[in-house]
């Protein structure tokens, strides 16, 4: 699975993460949350909403260093897709992508836009885009940096089902081609089964990994029975 010269595995060991609650008390939201992905693997973090998945993701991204533990990231650029597209509203689609990935060449840039059906929207501003299109731009931006680690925080939440399905297909193809180590946060079991090599099931707060399930590729060609059995495994683990 790992390509030659891979930038190393992702090794996440969060011993403890506390935040101040509204009442001023310290609340522990992550406790012994640990998982590991080899280079090029896709891992899904799945758990009840509000269990601290996004907090874990911010720690993995290096955006939050106030925790006990250690995170070893693959060497190289980080690509991230947040729950909201987080585009710069005063910049065009093209500028939004190029600001994050200044080194991308025109051919690669054009190909990426085409892949994500964004070719007609190059010069548009984020206010002119639908949510689905804006999410595509966020995906394009994350891939444009040629990431060695890709973090996707519920990238398809609040999209209607057919659109989410289409985007998931595009994402799957891109991830497969690039062999990039990917962490996907989701509360959608189907999405996790469809996209991930490994699924890590999280407990409610304070979140920890209560089970790991390996999904055997090819994911696309998985039979309904296999998918059902994995889903049953996850349901058995879920509290």
């Amino acid at each position: 699975m790992s390509p030659a010269g891979a930038p190393g595995p992702l090794d996440v060991r969060i011993a403890r993460k506390r935040v101040a609650s509204v009442a001023g008390l310290e609340v522990e939201i992550l406790s012994n949350l640990a998982f590991r992905l080899d280079a090029g693997e896709v891992g899904a973090l799945i758990g009840p909403s509000g269990c601290g998945k996004s907090t874990a993701m911010r720690i993995v991204a290096g955006l939050d260093s106030a925790f006990e533990g250690a995170v070893a990231r693959p060497q190289g650029p980080l690509g991230m897709v947040f729950q909201e597209p987080r585009l710069l509203p005063w910049r065009s689609v093209e500028d939004n992508i190029r600001l994050a990935a200044p080194d991308i060449g025109e051919a690669e840039f054009a190909a990426l836009l085409k892949r994500l059906s964004l070719a007609d929207h190059r010069a548009h501003f984020p206010s002119e885009l639908s949510l689905g299109l804006a999410r595509r731009v966020a995906l394009a931006r994350a891939f444009a940096v040629r990431p060695s680690l890709l973090l996707l925080d519920e990238p398809f939440v609040s999209l209607d089902a057919p659109l989410a399905r289409a985007l998931r297909g595009e994402l799957l193809a891109l991830v497969g081609e690039r062999a990039v180590t990917t962490v996907l946060v989701t509360h959608d079991v189907e999405e996790a089964i469809r996209l991930a090599d490994r699924i890590f099931v999280l407990s409610p707060r304070p979140a920890r990994v209560i089970g790991e399930i390996r999904v055997r590729p090819p994911r696309e060609g998985m039979s309904a029975a296999e998918a059902r059995s994995i889903k049953a495994d996850i349901d058995a683990l879920s509290p």
Partner: protein, 246 residues
């Protein structure tokens, strides 16, 4: 547009009527003022005075905006800086412009530096408070995005922070320019040997209202032109990405 023109014309008509029936020494008619303006322009004094006053407006405005933006940004981002600097800003905000001007002239002497500093200090707290609001309203989600994609500090400032601050900078510019040019005239009147404010004081001493208006009107017109040709286009430029209201 037509209503505005009508309003301006009625003002002119009122001026002519008042000059006709009043004491011409107190209020000379438009023709007398234009004659005085022509005389001041022909001697070059009008343009020299306007140029030096404009230079003072520009210098004190830029100084106040730069210092106010830096201080306001720091106060908006860091609670400690805000707590430390806020009482100073409140004091400056409420100190009459005249007090600041006179104090600086006494402390630093009747010189150019004191004049510029006095105007800048009068404008500084307004700029600071406005930019502080902007810094408080910065979107943390975009900041996080910039960090995730490893934007350099310069790139973050230029592409993430400044565009968010731009409407606040535009507001501070608009209110600041009109404040600064009025205070510059007072500073010149009290302690400078040249400039529009100085000439107005001369006219006051001579009780020469035609000369007073001959300096005041072109300068006011020039500031309106700056507002229309610089400030308003800047405001439109920084908000061009916003969706137009339907």
């Amino acid at each position: 547009m037509a209503a505005r023109l009508l309003s301006l014309l009625s003002l002119l008509a009122l001026w002519i009527v008042a000059a006709r029936f009043g004491d011409p020494r107190h209020l000379p008619g438009p023709l007398a003022v234009f004659a005085a303006m022509g005389k001041a322009a022909a001697s070059g004094e009008l343009f020299a005075a306007m140029a030096i006053t404009m230079a003072r407006v520009a210098a004190s405005f830029l100084l106040a905006m730069a210092a106010g933006a830096a201080l306001g940004y720091a106060m908006g981002r860091r609670a400690l800086v805000d707590r430390l600097a806020d009482p100073w800003v409140v004091v400056l905000l409420n100190l009459p412009a005249l007090v600041i001007i006179v104090l600086l002239y006494i402390w630093a002497g009747l010189n150019e530096a004191a004049a510029i500093a006095a105007v800048a200090l009068n404008k500084l707290p307004n700029a600071t408070v406005t930019i502080r609001e902007g810094a408080r309203a910065l979107d943390p989600a975009l900041d996080e995005m910039a960090r995730a994609f490893a934007f350099s500090p310069w790139k973050r400032l230029r592409h993430v922070v400044l565009p968010q601050l731009a409407p606040y900078i535009a507001a501070a510019t608009r209110s600041g320019l009109s404040l600064v040019w009025k205070i510059v005239l007072v500073v010149e009147l009290i302690g400078r040997p040249n400039g529009v404010g100085f000439e107005i004081n001369e006219a006051f001493q001579l009780f020469d209202v035609a000369m007073l208006l001959a300096y005041a009107l072109p300068f006011t017109a020039a500031m309106l032109v700056v507002e229309a040709l610089v400030v308003q286009p800047f405001e439109r430029h920084v908000s061009r990405w916003r969706p137009r209201p339907a």
